[in-house]
């Protein structure tokens, strides 16, 4: 019987992060789509030579063609260019919403889950209240309170996501706090705060990451809905939801709705696929 155990046993993960990752085709495609969308938002000028604001009136309401991929609108503007230039605002506001949700919700969940006691009770009721108000109504009154702008729509969306992050983080923290390895860390002489930061937080956040990615997709939808109702930046801004909202008055030229809708759906679908994959590979 050898004392040195077999080194070859199930040698996963030894070759760094990527060795253990098998990326399915749909996930690779989703990552590509998200990469393109991010590129649109950073460098829109690289992807189209048309102006998103100034149109050619003679070319108004043209169908999709090689020249105008998504057709043109009632002012003769290239819809593809409008979508590409609208990306930055749609994507960055969704990011802001997620950051607000993760940071505020995560902090609430972390503190109430780790401290327990009356702190937990107080936060639990607060989270219950945020959950009780229908999310979209909550976003609407918050954006009403702070003003109709895309950035405010993002903040409102973030506020409406706080409760979910708080609840999930709290559940994860409690689950982790009761884990055997946390008790083992106490026996190893670790202090409460050391264990919170080095053991509980990294483990609890593992399931918050897929949720944050999922929330990113959802925030795109909520912000698009708010823009659709006219609670974001006014035209000539070209947020995806706003484009669809303008298009709905021109249903005879359906690409005005379908083109931005297609981009929105494809983006959110890709983001959701990535989230699902992250949840599984965890």
């Amino acid at each position: 019987m050898s004392f040195v155990s077999n080194a070859r046993s199930r040698s996963l993960g030894s070759g760094g992060l990527l060795a253990g990752f098998h990326v399915p085709a749909t996930v690779a495609l989703s990552l590509l789509i998200v990469a393109i969308v991010l590129a649109w938002s950073v460098l829109p000028g690289l992807f189209t030579s048309y102006s998103p604001v100034v149109g050619v009136p003679a070319d108004k309401l043209l169908g999709p063609s090689a020249l105008h991929w998504f057709g043109t609108d009632h002012l003769g503007r290239d819809v593809y260019a409008r979508v590409v230039y609208g990306t930055a605002s749609s994507v960055s506001s969704a990011l802001i919403a997620v950051v607000i949700g993760v940071v505020v919700g995560g902090l609430i969940g972390l503190i109430s889950g780790f401290l327990g006691g009356w702190v937990d009770v107080v936060f639990a009721r607060l989270v219950d209240v945020l959950l009780a108000i229908p999310k979209f109504l909550l976003a609407v009154i918050v954006v009403t309170a702070i003003g109709f702008e895309t950035i405010n729509a993002a903040i409102a969306t973030g506020v409406s996501a706080v409760a979910i992050f708080a609840r999930v983080t709290r559940a994860e923290v409690i689950k982790t706090r009761q884990a055997t390895f946390v008790e083992a860390a106490y026996l190893s002489g670790g202090s409460r705060w050391f264990i919170l930061w080095r053991h509980v937080l990294p483990n609890a956040s593992r399931s918050v990451l897929p949720l944050a990615v999922l929330q990113f997709g959802e925030s795109i939808l909520v912000i698009a809905s708010l823009a659709f109702l006219g609670y974001g930046d006014p035209p000539p801004a070209s947020d995806w939801g706003l484009l669809i909202s303008i298009g709905k008055d021109y249903l005879k030229w359906p690409w005005l709705v379908y083109a931005p809708a297609f981009v929105t759906i494809l983006t959110v679908l890709s983001v959701n696929r990535i989230s699902r994959w992250l949840r599984k590979t965890d």
Binding site: P134, F136, I146, S225, K252
Partner: protein, 336 residues
């Protein structure tokens, strides 16, 4: 009805009351931090054409000259006695305004819920019967696809295809049968995606349980396994999920009513937002919270009676299964 259950019920009821009160206070605070003075922006708006005397009268009637804490107290005690205050814009009782539009929204929301339930069950139960090579993947893809589609896009597509192209209904007549049906479909599809997602996950989990294999070792076929073994444990937790989707139905009807040009709570909110009619907004949002809390209270009280796995210990619900987890899973996957 055991003692433990009654303790649990009393505790949940108390929590529900506290949450409703806090939700009211919360919306009051959010609405009160509006930048600018609502009095100036609404009452002194020349479009509304109020005279100075009328303005003074409204301010006095609404108690807007009192300190904020007194206003909150007045509003809260009014809310508890069923008095929702007066609309600032039309100077009519808020309860009257809501009562006028509520039936239309109730019809839409319940039709939407019905669509959501039927569709979710068809899709989820279908995954058990449609073989892999005949499109089971399509059914399984349904939830993730429709969780990615904004519901106003679904509405616009339905209007475009069935209204414009096929001429089944006209948006000018939003209360017709077809218009209501398609509005309900637009509202119900994203909600059904959520329910179907949980249902499919539950069915898959139950089918992998040891008891399913043991039942099959007793010669039970797939169809009977589904009907007598998997259906109940997979579907029971959905009671909780459906209750959680009430919020989506309320929020979604706001957009759906706009898309289909219906009058209802949604259009009332829209109008109140644009005119900054605070008492109306405050009332609608807190009523939304009341409905949500009550529906979820009922679901929570019902669930231990339906599912023998759930035990009430020390006034808390203890579930040896993953019913609670699926409820969290449902809050994870939400559409506007």
């Amino acid at each position: 009805m055991s003692n433990a259950y009654l303790t649990y019920a009393a505790k949940r009821l108390g929590q529900a009351v506290v949450v409703i009160l806090l939700a009211y206070i919360f919306t009051f605070v959010v609405v009160s931090i509006l930048p600018g003075d609502p009095v100036t922006s609404v009452l002194r708006n020349p479009q509304n054409g109020f005279t100075e005397e009328e303005i003074a009268e409204i301010i006095a009637a609404q108690g807007l000259d009192k300190p904020i804490i007194v206003q909150l107290w007045n509003a809260l005690s009014g809310f508890l006695t069923g008095d929702l205050g007066m609309s600032m814009r039309s100077n009519r009782p808020v309860s009257t305004l809501i009562a006028e539009v509520l039936p239309s929204t109730l019809i839409l929301a319940s039709a939407g819920l019905a669509v959501a339930l039927v569709l979710a069950m068809l899709v989820a139960y279908g995954t058990r019967f449609v073989p892999k090579k005949y499109g089971q993947g399509l059914l399984r893809g349904f939830p993730s696809l429709f969780l990615s589609v904004p519901n106003f896009v679904i509405g616009l597509m339905l209007i475009h295809i069935f209204g414009f192209q096929l001429g089944l209904f006209r948006v000018i007549n939003p209360d017709s049968f077809w218009a209501t049906l398609f509005a309900a479909i637009a509202l119900g599809i994203p909600v059904s995606a959520q329910i179907a997602e949980v249902l499919i996950a539950n069915l898959d989990r139950e089918a992998e349980q040891e008891y399913a294999a043991v039942a099959r070792s007793r010669g039970i076929g797939q169809a009977r396994l589904f009907a007598t073994h998997l259906l109940k444990p997979a579907s029971l937790p959905v009671v909780t999920v459906v209750a959680l989707t009430i919020g989506e139905l309320l929020g979604g009807s706001l957009i759906t009513e706009t898309v289909f040009g219906r009058t209802g709570i949604g259009s009332l909110v829209q109008r109140s937002v644009s005119t900054q009619d605070l008492p109306v907004l405050q009332a609608v949002v807190s009523l939304g919270a009341v409905v949500f809390v009550l529906v979820n209270l009922i679901a929570d009280l019902l669930y231990p009676l339906l599912d023998p796995r759930v035990k009430i210990i020390g006034g808390r619900k203890r579930s040896p299964t993953t019913a609670d987890e699926t409820a969290i899973g449902a809050t994870k996957a939400v559409t506007p």
